[in-house]
Symmetry: D2
């Protein structure tokens, strides 16, 4: 299995922790989304500009395995790799590792597509090419 | 397939929508968590009290299919049904339907377990009984 | 001093609490915003529609006194009263009280205005009338 | 007036923007809190450890002027300076500037104190010394 080809390094902020003293489950979705959007930027696609242009990237399915929780102040790496699933769908394979010990925190597979403002499938060439 | 036996009715708040004008993906995790915690309360288990007592309920895996987005002001129903997966694991089967047209918004399967403050498996009887 | 003429009743959700076991400061801003938007709806103004129409309601200043924290499961009332501050600015006077004991939780004064998509002052008649 | 002596540099993440396409008001509270906690760390105080030890730092009042909104991808600097207000209260004077043009985004004055788990004033020496 290949390693993610793109990654971000981030640190847990205190407001991201819940009453259990660990990062709340929903917050990992934010980390994963942020890494995907930075990855797209690296591929030449700006999520905010795409949205303004009526190209709406949406998540259709997410599968997440939570291995170990992150805590206040933990630094971590979010990786991101992309795979074509079908003509209209692509998958982001993402992992989170704690730093510096590389303890696995989370593995995710996020399947997305692109629609127009009416919700109809719409995959312009520039999206298509970024996913080659 | 059985219908969820417990549900909550909620309404989208404006701050839950992102720049696409739809509910951000991570926010659905909040809706689902809130419905699970209300369901536990209905079964006699208070998440905040359990946490204070060192019984830490954690999510191990989530599988979510996003069918259609919710928008500002939409009312919706979050359903919750529980299944025993193994001696130490249980699954919450959850759906979100828009109201009043019952359009399917999201289907989820959230697998959880219970650990102590050190992260070791710990499923006291009162948790066990609630999941019968 | 007059009492707020409009209020919402809400309940704290577990994900709104932070590692101190109390509602995180930023979350109160969400409660206050949600009450303001519901108040506007009651006055015939829909925040999401206004945004789509290029009428951008923005907060210019907030003053908040935090009297006592809310905790998991607490029910509370968010009140909202409006005052004209200047031709282009209006103030929302807001309080949060815990239920059922009416313990004061928070007092706020939120000053807002209305701008167009370029950030220039823009107060169409329908906004103006709602604030009479 | 003196300039903040401590600052953090951050970048807006897409999920922090709301349907207006700008950073939601409540999110600035997160930025400000994160800068305060990093500032405390720099002074030798760890917010999460203090919380575990029963030293609860709480916000009593916030005054925030919003000058200009931040948008997706904007980089910015959050400054933080501390002042003693009374034997039991201290104020964080905070500003946010956009980078690289240093456009003023927000000015804040956040007044805090320290309590024990029962909510009684409790300002141990190590807190007191950090605020000299």
């Amino acid at each position: 299995m290949s390693s993610p080809s793109f990654f971000l390094e981030l640190t847990v902020r205190d407001y991201e922790c819940d009453m259990q003293g660990i990062v709340n489950n929903a917050v990992y979705l934010h980390y994963l989304e942020h890494a995907r959007h930075e990855y797209l930027k690296y591929k030449g696609l700006n999520f905010a500009e795409l949205t303004r242009d009526g190209i709406i990237l949406v998540v259709k399915r997410s599968e997440i395995d939570y291995h170990h929780p992150l805590r206040s102040g933990d630094s971590f790496r979010v990786g991101c790799l992309i795979e074509r699933v079908s003509p209209l769908r692509f998958a982001f394979v993402q992992q989170i590792y704690r730093l510096p010990d590389l303890r696995p925190i989370l593995s995710a597979r996020i399947i997305g597509t692109s629609v127009n403002r009416s919700g109809r499938p719409f995959l312009p060439d520039k999206i298509d090419l970024a996913f080659e």
